[in-house]
Structure formats: structure tokens, C-alpha cells
Amino acid sequence: MVETITANNIVALAPMYLFRWEEPQQAYILLYPEGIVKLNETGAAILKYCDSTHTVEEIITKLSEIYTTDVSESVYKFLEVSYAKGWIRIKP
């Protein structure tokens, strides 16, 4: 069921999801019908770029500027999980 995310896919947050910083939690959160996801720093950093303007490749480039380790595998893994859960969409 998990579709493969490819480098030139443009990804966007699914319309019913709300992504924002939450002060009491000191974390980025994702809100959706009857659900809350508290994201860690890396997850939040990736989701910030899921704004229907960046390709996966561009997201990896952006994050490579922040993190010194190779982020590529983590980004793909996170996006695949996010896609399977319906948090993000691939722009046609």
C-alpha cells in the first residue's frame, strides 16, 4: 500500500491537516480529525517543506544544509510513513 516516493515528487500537506508550533508542548504538532501527532525536530523540519512548492530532492538539499549527516534515507522514510498515514499528498 505504501507507494514509493520519488525524487521529483512535489509533496504537500493534506488539506484537513493543521501543522503548527504549540507553545505548551514546546513542539511542532499535526492536528487532524480526532488525532494529534507531536513531531520531533527532524519530522517538523521535513513537514515545513511539504508546502506544494518543493520536490523531495529539494527538501533533501535544504535539510542537508542544516544537518551534517546524510538525511536522504530519513527523509524518504518519513515521507513514506506520512504518505501512508494520509498526512501528505503527492501533487499530480
Partner: protein, 396 residues
């Protein structure tokens, strides 16, 4: 609404180590706030989670009192907000409260039978910032739906479902599941697909309050459950992430209890129509607890300091077999209300657990349901006068 404590979907995604791992972490904040706006309801569902003496709760909080709850809850970090009941649309201030809550930063959910949700009110709710609607449906055809809720409302519900989608709301179709409707799993999935809902929740009835009165009549057979799960699996495979399908099994058929509410007083706070603060919607069933009220105490004190919210918090209250169980972090000993209702002591292990010395009460109930010698009984509908609680020794 049936109790569905096992479906909270609260996750923290850890990706730092390169692997994705899902854990629960609420930091002790009441992230989930449920407002039972009223116990009045046009339906008569025989599995209703409202108290048996629902008609005695007349002094509902005013609009201003609800607003104070919203402000105080948000200050404490509440995020998800459910407007439920009874039927919340029987209040004429839902639109005003949704707008107020949206401004405060809540994710607002309306949990409704759909009755009273006119196109006009839907439009106002959309403008007020309502995020999603959970609509209950009880069958895939009019006749069975009528028989199950005591009122002929199926066509009305279908029209409401279409109006909800036309307004662009994400929608959860909530279907309380019992022996009488579980064989419609396929046709209900077809209905959900046709309506283009984002989520469908098969919420097997959990046995408290009205549902407990009707338990033996509602309990599906193991064969029915297995068949329904097969169909759900088939649809999940076919639909992928187009529609999320939740299937909450009746915990009587599990051998481990549900992590009810993710633990007592952990992330969940419910306020009843009269301002009573509850760790869950059923908590009033536990005798001997004096529930605090937002009319008398601050929400902060209620959550952090009140004896009720601390009664079964953490694991200090546990007895064996929970106390030394290596799974206690996962399921918190199950459901306190169920432990009380089935064993007479809320500090016992939830008897759904096969490690509970009283597990036989659950096993014998399941066996009785399947017995060819069982004598069928009529369903008791939730309506005033259907039963009397006058001779019960209860605190509410």
C-alpha cells in the same frame, strides 16, 4: 457515542535515529477536551454512553460558563476539542462556541447524530472555523437504522452527510457495531465510499451504561467479527490512504485490555452538561468518587490536584496482577469503569485481561452469548421512563 478509548491516535514520531517509531507522550497535559453539551437527544440508542438517569441533568452550563472552560483548558494546553452530547445541535450556542474555540486555537470536532444540522447551521459552523464532523450512522438501510435508534432518521442522516461533504468538511462516519448490524460491514463501506468520507470508524459497542443493560443482545459472535475484519482488510487494501478505516473490536474478545483513555487523568478531560469534570465520559459509574465541578473549582485544580483525577493516575493504585505486570505501561491495567462494573472494585485489573483472576466473568458472558440455550430479551431503549434508577445506590 460509544466509548472508543483505544482509538486516540496520539503519536509522537521519532525519526532522529533514522527509524520511525511511534510512542505515546502527553506530558501530563489534558490535550483532549470533550464537552458534553447536553444529555438531551432526539435518538433513543440502546447503547448510549450517557448516564442511565440522563433526564435528571437539567442545569446545563451557560454559554459564558462553557467559554470559561474553553479559555482555561487552552491555557493548560488542550488541543483537540470535541463537542458532543446527547445531541450537541440541540444547543443554540454551538456556532458561537465553535467560533470562540477556533479563535483560541483548538482543533474543533463536532460529534453529532446529524439531527438539527441544517444546511444553514452547517454554513455558519464552516464560517466559525469548525474543522471536522463525526456523523453517526447505525445501518446501511433505513429500516434497520430505524429499529436500532427508535426513530426514523436514516434519510435525514443521508441528506446531512451529503450536505457536510458539500460544505467541504472532512468527515468521520461513526458506526456503533453490534450483532444486529455487523453483517452490513460491506454495504456500510460501500456507503462510505459513495459519500467520499475521509474516515470510517467501526466502533464495536463498549459495554457501559445503556449498552451494559443490553449487552447479551448486542455482543456479536466471534464468527461475525472475523468475517467483518476480513471485509475491512479487503477495503483497506483496495482504497489505500483514500479512506482510513478504523475497526475497534469489542474488548471482551481480546485477551489484553484496551489502554483506556491512554490512562486515567493522562490526556483526557471531559466536562458534563452540568459542569462535572470527568476523566472519561463513563466515569460517573464508579461509586464513591466525588467528581469536581467547573462551577466550583478551577480547571487547573481539578486536573492537577483533585482526588478524583489522581485516584487512578500513574500506577501506585494498582494491585496484583497489574502491579508487577511488565505490560502495565502499555495498557495501564485497562479500563477503571469496566473493572468497577464487572468486579465491583475499580482498582482491580480490567477483567478483560486473561491475567485477571476474575477473567471468568468476561469468558462466561461471551460463552452465554454464544449459547444455544440463551433466552433472548428485548432491547431497552434510552428514553425517559424506560427504567428506574430510584433504587440504585449511586452517587449521581
Amino acid at each position: 457515542m460509544p466509548k472508543d478509548g483505544s482509538e486516540l491516535n496520539l503519536e509522537s514520531l521519532e525519526l532522529s535515529s533514522g527509524s520511525s517509531e511511534l510512542t505515546l507522550d502527553g506530558l501530563g497535559i489534558p490535550m483532549w477536551l470533550t464537552l458534553e453539551m447536553t444529555y438531551r437527544c432526539p435518538l433513543q440508542c440502546p447503547w448510549c454512553s450517557n448516564p442511565l438517569d440522563f433526564d435528571k441533568f437539567k442545569n446545563e452550563l451557560t454559554t459564558e460558563e462553557w467559554k470559561k472552560v474553553l479559555v482555561d483548558g487552552r491555557k493548560m494546553g488542550a488541543l483537540q476539542l470535541g463537542f458532543t452530547g446527547g445531541e450537541p445541535m440541540l444547543r443554540d450556542d454551538i456556532e458561537e462556541l465553535v467560533a470562540y474555540a477556533d479563535e483560541l486555537g483548538y482543533y474543533t470536532n463536532l460529534i453529532t447524530s446529524g439531527i438539527g444540522l441544517t444546511p444553514n447551521r452547517l454554513q455558519v459552523l464552516k464560517n466559525a472555523g469548525l474543522k471536522q464532523i463525526q456523523l453517526s450512522i447505525q445501518a446501511s438501510d433505513r429500516e434497520l437504522n430505524h429499529k436500532l435508534v427508535g426513530v426514523d432518521v436514516f434519510d435525514q442522516k443521508m441528506a446531512v452527510a451529503e450536505n457536510i461533504k458539500a460544505q467541504g468538511f472532512p468527515m468521520v462516519l461513526n458506526i456503533p457495531i453490534c450483532k444486529q448490524n455487523i453483517d452490513q460491514t460491506r454495504s456500510m463501506l460501500e456507503m462510505a465510499e459513495r459519500l467520499e468520507v475521509e474516515y470510517i470508524e467501526f466502533a464495536n459497542i463498549q459495554y457501559y451504561n445503556w449498552a451494559l443493560l443490553n449487552r447479551e443482545e448486542f455482543m456479536p459472535s466471534r464468527e461475525q467479527l472475523v468475517a467483518a475484519e476480513e471485509i475491512v482488510k479487503e477495503y483497506r487494501q483496495r482504497l489505500g490512504n483514500k479512506m482510513q478505516i478504523y475497526f475497534v473490536i469489542p474488548d471482551y474478545y481480546d485477551d489484553r485490555p484496551k489502554a483506556c483513555m491512554n490512562g486515567w487523568g493522562n490526556i483526557h478531560l471531559t466536562i458534563g452538561p452540568d459542569g462535572t469534570a470527568l476523566p472519561c465520559q463513563e466515569a460517573r459509574v464508579i461509586k464513591g468518587l466525588e467528581f469536581p465541578n467547573v462551577r466550583e473549582q478551577s480547571l487547573d485544580w481539578i486536573w492537577n490536584n483533585s482526588p478524583v483525577f489522581n485516584a487512578y493516575r500513574g500506577d501506585d493504585w494498582m494491585k496484583e496482577p497489574c502491579k508487577s505486570c511488565d505490560e502495565k505501561e502499555d495498557d495501564h491495567g485497562g479500563c477503571r469503569c469496566q473493572a468497577f462494573l464487572l468486579t465491583g472494585d475499580a482498582t482491580n485489573a480490567d477483567p478483560v485481561c486473561s491475567k485477571s483472576p476474575m477473567h471468568n466473568v468476561v469468558e462466561s458472558c461471551v460463552a452465554n452469548t454464544a449459547s444455544p440455550h440463551r433466552v433472548e430479551r428485548p432491547l431497552v431503549f434510552r428514553k425517559k421512563g424506560a427504567i428506574t434508577t430510584d433504587f440504585l445506590d449511586r452517587s449521581s
